[in-house]
Symmetry: C2
Subunit: 326 residues, 2 copies
Amino acid sequence: MQDIARRLNISRSTVSLVLSGKSDGRVSEAVKKKVLQAAKEMDYHLNELARSLRVGSSNLISVIVTDISNEFFAQMTFHIQEAAKKAGYLVLTINSNENDQEFEQMARLLISKQVDGIIAVPTPGGQDSLRMIIDQKVPLVTVDRFCEGVSADYVGVDNYEASKKAVSELLSEGFKKICMMRLDLNIPPLNERERGYIDAMKAAGQQEHIAIHRIRFGEEMERDLLVPLDDVMATDAVFFSSHRVFTEAMKVVSKVGGVPQRQCVLCFDDVRPYVTGATDIRYIEQPIAEIAQKSFDLLLAKIKGEAGTGRYIFPTRSIDRQSLLK
Amino acid sequence: MQDIARRLNISRSTVSLVLSGKSDGRVSEAVKKKVLQAAKEMDYHLNELARSLRVGSSNLISVIVTDISNEFFAQMTFHIQEAAKKAGYLVLTINSNENDQEFEQMARLLISKQVDGIIAVPTPGGQDSLRMIIDQKVPLVTVDRFCEGVSADYVGVDNYEASKKAVSELLSEGFKKICMMRLDLNIPPLNERERGYIDAMKAAGQQEHIAIHRIRFGEEMERDLLVPLDDVMATDAVFFSSHRVFTEAMKVVSKVGGVPQRQCVLCFDDVRPYVTGATDIRYIEQPIAEIAQKSFDLLLAKIKGEAGTGRYIFPTRSIDRQSLLK
DNA sequence: GTGAAAGCGCTAACAA
DNA sequence: TTGTTAGCGCTTTCAC
């Protein structure tokens, strides 16, 4: 900047004025043109770091998910990024790996980096980290998992009702023995989905068929999937409480020849691409794009200083065979 | 920092020394302890922006993919992020949406943000943007797609050989009429995979059965998939040139009852979770984790000033029915 | 072992 | 319309 000022025999502030687009009428057109010209010739790129330091905002936000390679979070992140791009923000994506310590450590690092805001999927015991973020006056929006006792915005769906409804539909179609497979993570959405399943089964008088298989995430995953396999194969239908457990289960099942034909599969989150054969697969759809957009809008409002804290629940849709075929 | 210095009646430089861990023997233990204590009490977070400005490195890198919601790129990004985390870097993820202008614009923004390096999946016509990055002396590693005429590191696989081999295997098993479905993007990996398919068909004397369906990405996708559907259904096997075209095709096929049982499906990239039923599904596996790790290692070496430019080709594996079952 | 002072590249109030 | 100046929060050399 100094360089281009010297070259044109003008001062740095004039150059700054032009380059940051605040020259409306304050700088003559002639000078303006010369500055722009010189900047292009020298392939000059403004140092945003210095600008951020000076003006006190980095135009950086962060999205902390448990694992970006999880399809649901990957899609959510994509939509947040596109919204952020339009508003002039870049996004740092972080994986917490479901780990409280990692979450906390990364949150501290982000605060150090002076991010303007954070959209986070809380880890199971992450209340303290969330509170720390709020204490540091960094705008925060939580998404997907509601965190009790933390006064941050929340965006998500009604997991209980969605599960209950979908399982009830299965029951009323004649699938009686329905078991559930869920990850062994103590997080609200999975717990809610389990409650929904249980209540649906009870309401249909099928309480003796309630069977919930908890799958540990990580090393033990394959074993945990294999152990109850015979029981699972013997049911009328299987309710997978999330995309991740479904895909992992399918990898295992593929080794024993796939899902039995008469069996119905219900899953939380879009599994349409998995409908390759005769298997009756259905799913509960969350409006990911809307959730992402809302999360970003809320964050932006918070950054701008507007906003009060709230909870935003989006509707889900049960996609059954019929919906799939039309 | 000033605050904590004042509170302890010492100078800012001493505080800085302690907090940045450069106090080895230069600061007394007593003072050190007091500083650390005070920092904790005041919930002090170092301003990395200022540090970056001063020392001239941001500890930020960026990964530019076409679309983070694409499973292959999501996984690649995950592994890069974990590698970066270990090395003390945070990563800005960007979607180019296969668009040269967006890529260029984002690259400029990243340079402004003073990122220490960029790992990029080039867009079809992105040579100029890549050259610009190199001219600005920002370390650059390209991945997945080789970009002719740009002297940047490249990490990827041998798409031609992998396709040729997998298609040949299918042919030798008796699947004769094999068609290929690919996205209508003019990018090296897809072109190479097509060449591999064609050469395999020719080598087996099946040139009259060569049929390549180009699917446009975006709005027209569903239509492009629907139009050749009857022809595709009539083949012995379908070779999908990428994960994305496969999943999109499956969404469409699910509406007409799924893949015919006698038909075999071959796909580039891991589709194991899709093996839900009787369909014979196979795939070509890229070692994503290794590719990601290598990309980051190369970038880090470049950042550290070591490194010469090179191409790194990783081996693929054909996963057939047998491998799937063991 | 500790402090004073300069400066990273930029912006913004104020002066000219 | 343009220039001068101070300072964002940190690191680092050099003197004490």
